[in-house]
Symmetry: C2
Subunit: 343 residues, 2 copies
Amino acid sequence: MSTETKTKNRRASIDDVAKHAGVSTATVSRVVNQTGPVAADTISRVQQAIVELNYRPQAAARNLAGRRTHTIGLLVSSIAGDFFAPMLRGIEATAQENGFTLLVYSTGGGAGNISQPLPLGEQNTDGILSFVDSISDAELTHLADIGFPTVLIHQSPPTGLNIPFVTIENKQGARKLVDHLIEVHNYRRIAFLRGEEGHEDSYWREMGYRESLRAHDILLDENLIAAGGFDRNQARNVVESWLNAGIDMDAIFAADDESALGVLTALQSAGLCVSQDMAVVGFDDISMSCYLTPPLTTVRAPIEDVGRTATQQLINLIRGEASEPLLLLPTEVIIRQSCGCDG
Amino acid sequence: MSTETKTKNRRASIDDVAKHAGVSTATVSRVVNQTGPVAADTISRVQQAIVELNYRPQAAARNLAGRRTHTIGLLVSSIAGDFFAPMLRGIEATAQENGFTLLVYSTGGGAGNISQPLPLGEQNTDGILSFVDSISDAELTHLADIGFPTVLIHQSPPTGLNIPFVTIENKQGARKLVDHLIEVHNYRRIAFLRGEEGHEDSYWREMGYRESLRAHDILLDENLIAAGGFDRNQARNVVESWLNAGIDMDAIFAADDESALGVLTALQSAGLCVSQDMAVVGFDDISMSCYLTPPLTTVRAPIEDVGRTATQQLINLIRGEASEPLLLLPTEVIIRQSCGCDG
DNA sequence: CTGAAAGCGCTTACAG
DNA sequence: CTGAAAGCGCTTACAG
């Protein structure tokens, strides 16, 4: 069995509406877009014709003639995980509120610095939002050259390029989290599990970690730092190898909640009791973090808000209004039980 | 009046490329789109011009002239949760593989049956993917009338409309899950927590539940059925009230994992030990389900695959090829520990 | 307040 | 294999 599309008669165009209402297409355009002055009764005549013919302006023609697309392009390396959903929600909502639609393209990771024309750009959007590593420096340079509205999310622009970006207070958040571990729980041997190589979030979280240790006169043991890749399995493997090597630790700070999950798994399958035998903390506060056992102490990243803010900045740029070169959204330490607190 | 003043910041158009390569725009179009025959050396001349001028065809003009948009519209009621990410991943990937871009619009829930022109439709896409309740019957009827390619996800079309849809084997999955509860664990008093009112997934899951009870000669107790709304908090409240009322139960089947979470919370804060004192099972197998305590026994819904399949069906429709009126993707019971098994 | 007309930047018969 | 030309369906000065 199969269904097939049946073609019916042509859709109504602006000419049809104009004819039906006895006006010119210019007038129809004016009432549709609420631009320019039109007499009240003309307006209602046109509106009636629109309803009767079920007229909907065709985007392509509108964009061509108007030199705008009313759409925002979002580039991400991968549409995955708990991190993505809230960000998308923020972006989508803000775009809608301002009359823009959202075009999403995921570069599928690894697009890193291979310069290849993206399917989203000047040719089909009014502006681009780029999350982390989804766009090459060459492409970014091109966009900056032609002055195309662009905002970076959780990533700073290549040096020399004047592209606004919005991200979160990674360092501050990490600093406070580690301070808690040291000051409240008296841990001194705190391991750090980095995120992805070259990822700025990870970099600044590590800086916060180092700063906290330094501030408390704790000598950093480089053996307590390893790469977790923001990945459950990689994190789990690292912790298992630490355990096998008999590394002495009080606590493990995973660069994100996703990898904290792997840490928890490794510890539990080694028969350790998290929070008593070993503290674990993460970063992001993804939706499942409060349901873990024990509930995860972490730093809340205002991801949805990052999406909203970045989109607003982009829309400002598109409208030719001022926009902040850098916006750092505040993070907040969320104390639960995996750090050793009672909850 | 001299044409020497070629504006430096204007983007290259097809005319510029044609002039640069010494050919007509028709020829440029042919090499760009790989349509029609072009001599080998002409091709390379044009390609060189394209590179030199950094030419990128403008989508709006292309769409207008070509009467196609090369984009797929996705309508969802809300971009939230663990359910959405995998579905989006499947849709996005399949769209990309076939040269389509994705336009996403979330109706923000409650769009139910208020007929209001959607920002996604015939005017800016080649086809529409609609997830559950994101589009009104009136709108759907309109789309069917004009034969516009449309595919429904996790939702059947209104009666009389010939619109293909893809969903999962809800009833079968629920049936097997409840069979397990009865046959392996000997539970007889199994409660069911419905999902959202009028939601087809919920309806069929309930049918599977009822069918299993009937097959095992267990009389259905209507007091053991309540509305959980696919919602953590609502589910939690219901279970708390059941507990307060002293309802006798062996097990609770939550219509999705999200609400199973609420069940777990309610049970645990009442001091009950899930899996020993009371079994809990869910549906979907969202990413966090295996990390819950105890790990959740559930039914795996192939959500990403649903996204892929629906998109492929839509693309078939767009291309005028055959498409299945209904595709039911298989589900699978995932036994973990919350049902009382050892794990 | 309204309309005639010139595009916007492409694609695609049609003719050669 | 290639080009001239007629649109695609809108918007927007410009003129009245």
